[in-house]
Amino acid sequence: MMKQLFYLFLGAMLMVSCVEETNPEFDQKSFTKIYDNNLFTINYFPIDMVQTEDGGYLILGGRRLETPSFIGIYLMKADKDGNFVSDVEVDESFTNPVARLALINNTYRFFCMDPLTYQVHLAQTDANLEAVNIEPVNGAFNYPCAAQADGNSFILLSYDDLDKQSVLTVLNANGNVTQSRAFTIGAGEDVDGPILRHFMRIGRQYPFEVGRIPGGLYYFNGFYNYTFSLVFTNLNQDGPNGVVNGNQEEGGLSAVQPLSATKFAVARFSFDDNYLVPNTTLNPTGISSSVNLGGNTLPELEPNARIKILRTSINNKNVLVYGSNTRSKQIGLYFYDEATGTFITSKYLGFSNPFEIAQVISTEDGGLAVCGTTYVAGRFPRICLIKLHPDDLSKVK
């Protein structure tokens, strides 16, 4: 009988060991968080996000100011479980933050603007948002459009409203200019109207971008010669080395990700339609047109959708992640094989209330974090953060 009792006890213990227990590891593995504020008129929206060294998340955002002109600066920190930790509403004397948030000398840096002089400033903060320091960059640069870190330097696209020029500049970590070159957007009174409306966030938001082909030419995606174009330059010669022309304001590239010297993953827009082009060859020293790039048309995406491209590795596979907004008000993630451009799978985030993407990043556990805006109760814009573990992306293989 002792033997049977032993088996009975053993069986019971085995079954009890299969039950659910609180597991803090699961809390940071996958989650959806919506950062609410109970003030009726508050309007926060994210612009960029990084994962900090403590596993938490630092979000750079914008906020609607009481006197509508430009957009204010909002910073928020969440812990590794996605829970709100702290936030900062930066003084209204600085507006229009642009980034990729860059970690240089233990501070996260981004660019912003003085709303009175339009002068570009370099802002820096720590991972816990204990202080935000903002200093003007050296040189007369106005209207920051896009920025990207390149090692310990920055590549900045700004707009010169006096001479109506797109200005591409390389600055060091302290905001000192090392190289700069200006490119005309064209002559005429109303030619910069779309740019100014973009800055006041009362019109279409253009997908300004800057970057550098690894070890090669710099590029910007912005206005050049009356057209929203992708412009390549070595910053030494007048005029661009190469241009991928758009179609005035109605066609162009909505996202750019260089893969090699001539191979690119891009997305393009054309008269409200969107096309994902995960594997294409662009000539950085010639003139071409984005219209000829073809691509996968996705009717499910909203007109002129915001598109983000992330080059990453998931489940030991090099992939391109395209993140965008669908007509059904979800965030769509589309995964392509980086080597071939072949479609792998898709994943849709958000439901019930509208969701819009702002940024998608890789996380230290090999997963993804997607930052965006959701509309709580269908009406209050709030920042949201969706964390996906590689297990959630098991179809990516």
């Binding site: 079954m15 989650f31 968080k33 019930s352 209050f380």
Partner: protein, 294 residues
Amino acid sequence: MKKFYLLPCLLLLAGLTFGQATKKRKGTFSNPAQNQKETFLDKQWWLGFKAGMNLSQVLVEKRYSALSPGNYDASLTDKGYDDFSSPGTQATLEVTFYYKGFSFSLQPGFRHSVFTYSNNYEWTDPENANNRLELNYQNEQKVDYAEVPLIFKYDVIGNKLRPYVQVGIYYGFLINANKAVEISGTDYASGGVNEFRNDPVIIGAKDLFAKNHWGLLGGLGANYNLGNVRLNLDIQYRKGMSLINSTENRFGSDRLSGIGEAMDDIKLNNLVFSFGCLFPMRYLASGFKTLDQR
């Protein structure tokens, strides 16, 4: 499925072992044939069926929400659980071995439990009282379990009416789960006082619940001998000892997390009322008399 059969098999095996054990009496003179007959008559197997209703109570181990507030205390929007308010149902097959007032009972069954909670949200504007929205989220969870309780009973007193007390352990296997969320509220910002109630969002929520859970039980009841049949009234309090929610899939439903909903880490207690009848498996005397009528 292997797990599903493991415990009942073991329990039956143990029951049979106890049931067939013999005990030698020492130091007294007795008629061996008479003793054997009395020992035989002290034992009985009962087989029966019970059904009834149950009420649920939730114990929160750790609170979670998809909403992470920045300017107000998260506790203001905590879920408020309604204890023992929504009736569920259960049906049980009972196999009981009786020996000298003690019973060893295996009661595999199906349990459908319902529990509800609500939370409230409010958005206001200190500068304009008309800018105000109040929302109430009413959540109803319906969970179905296959359960295997193992129970020891002691008949306190009586012959025809036999009250008993009981303690035991149970193990539950999730069969299905559904969740319904109904949002209602008052909108003061639309030019008047607009009270509204949306159609509930109803989703299958099996992935949001733990596949297995276990607990302890205690209770009391009574058997009433009616001819060869026993009528049974049974009341149990079941205390959940493990979480009934899935900790890994907490945010697994976009429909729910999209509206800020995420399940807490919870244990489920139940008050279970059952009524049924039991049939003897052995007839111990001529005329098909059972143990209590010999």
